[in-house]
């Protein structure tokens, strides 16, 4: 480097911008600002009401503390029901999602079946469990049965999609090998497809049990059984201390379930 280069030593380095093109960069900033203005303007955001909320928040939290764990039997019944809903729904849901996973895998079924399978999974995935729960509560009445049906749909949406993707990624050599021995469709599934995807299926099932447990705690809010109903009632009756107790137990159970499912999944791989 020659000493004659001008301004050496005073040259400052500037971080290169994330988007090189300045028009695109400032255009993007302007677009974000415009969207923000549009969104906040079109929603009915009332700051006066937000300000009113602060004393109400103080009132709610002062009534919620300390949490009231005294109504233990009500709480135990609710949580046991939630856990049972999650278990039944996971077992049935996982079996069905294996079925739908096969139907939605491009490499093992004809194209028409594949499209149908994909459509079922897409619909099951797109609706939030609470919406599904409302529909089932209206169709089959209040209670845990509606919750079980809801979580079965939820499981099909998640596990089914990932199973279909896992099946599409299998080694086709094994399928050809089983076919070469004269194996039919079911033999191909049993000896070439399943052995390749079942380890993943077991991991997904345990993950889904955890997800279902979380969801089963809230489907009760719309009447589909479990602790959610108890929580909703305590909220409606302004029993905030009992509601807080339910929430604390819920967080603890979810943490345990997450740790448990994480440990099993790690030991599987």
């Amino acid at each position: 480097m020659s000493a004659s280069s001008p301004g050496l030593g005073r040259r400052t380095w500037r971080r290169p911008p994330a988007i090189a093109n300045p028009y695109l960069r400032y255009g993007l900033y302007a677009a974000v600002a415009a969207y923000f203005a549009w969104a906040t303007g079109s929603l009915e955001l009332s700051w006066a009401r937000v300000a009113q909320g602060v004393p109400r928040a103080v009132a709610i939290f002062s009534r919620a503390l300390p949490p009231d764990f005294s109504r233990r039997s009500l709480m135990v019944d609710g949580f046991v029901e939630s856990i049972q809903i999650a278990i039944v729904a996971t077992l049935i849901g996982v079996i069905l999602s294996l079925l739908f996973g096969i139907l939605a895998a491009r490499n093992v079924v004809p194209r028409a079946v594949y499209l149908l399978g994909r459509a079922v999974i897409a619909v099951a995935r797109s609706f939030h469990p609470i919406i599904v729960a409302i529909i089932f509560v209206k169709a089959v009445g209040f209670g845990p049965f509606a919750g079980v049906l809801t979580l079965i749909v939820y499981s099909i949406g998640f596990v089914g999609k990932l199973m279909a993707e896992a099946i599409e990624e299998i080694d086709p050599g094994q399928v050809e090998a089983v076919r070469a021995t004269g194996g039919g469709f079911l033999k191909v599934l049993a000896y070439a497809v399943f052995p390749q995807v079942l380890p993943r299926q077991v991991g997904l099932s345990i993950y889904q049990l955890d997800s279902n447990l979380r969801a089963s705690a809230v489907v009760g809010i719309v009447g589909a059984g479990g602790i959610g109903g108890t929580l909703m009632n305590s909220f409606r009756r302004f029993d905030y201390d009992f509601a807080l107790a339910i929430l604390i137990v819920m967080i603890v159970i979810i943490l345990f379930s997450e740790a448990f499912s994480g440990r099993i999944r790690r030991s599987l791989t």
């Binding site: 929603l43 009401r49 909320g53 089932f136 169709a139 209670g143 049965f145 809010i221």
Partner: protein, 262 residues
Amino acid sequence: MNSYKWQRYTFAERLVRYLIYLATVAVLVWSVSDLDIFWPWVWDAPVQIGDLFARMSPLNLSGLRQIGAALIETVHIATLATLLALVLALPTAYIAAQNTTPNRLLLWLGRLIVVSTRSVNTIIWALLFVAIFGPGVVAGILAIAFRSIGFIGKLMAEAIEEIDKRQIEAIEATGAGKGKVVLYGIVPQVLPAFFAVTILRWDINIRESTVLGLVGAGGIGLILQSSIDLFDWQTVATILIAILGVVILGELVSAALRRRVL
């Protein structure tokens, strides 16, 4: 020819498998028998569900304008809540990551925030915020944002923990202060994760914001609930299809964004 028959599993393996099957069936039997299920309703369910779907056709398209407006409101709630969550989640991630947290107390505070916001479902947050701020979109935005803090905070904290330490040391060696280290040492390394997590959460938030209205926190759920209460199944079907469309659109947009920025 010997009489050896090929089997996939040894005897011991099969024994373990059957024991696992047995335990699973036992848990299933316990759950089903203990659940408060009214069996006549179960046997009647296919008929009832079929009946419900029959009542949903033909679609009632008269409320389409109202549904469209509610859907836009739903997307706004999801987007604004995601932005708000980012503002709240990034400092949380900073103190919840083991290598950037200022001290142990803040580390545990960060972890507490992450765990408690993530484990409480959006709809429960919505119940709380409706009780505080009254029904409306403010409660909805806060509910979605709070649930997202834990999600974004956890994933970003993990991203921060996985960064390359040498880059930090290099910047510290130039004499840069704490702010410069964050800006030039940490931010560039976690930026891809930041975009990925934000897009993923936005996609999830669109789905979540469709149910806020059921507890009065704004969005499409409000008119869904009122149509269900009126047994107006034809409008319900229209709303459900509209929700399906928006959710799938959101998924396509986020997939496109992900390809763009990553």
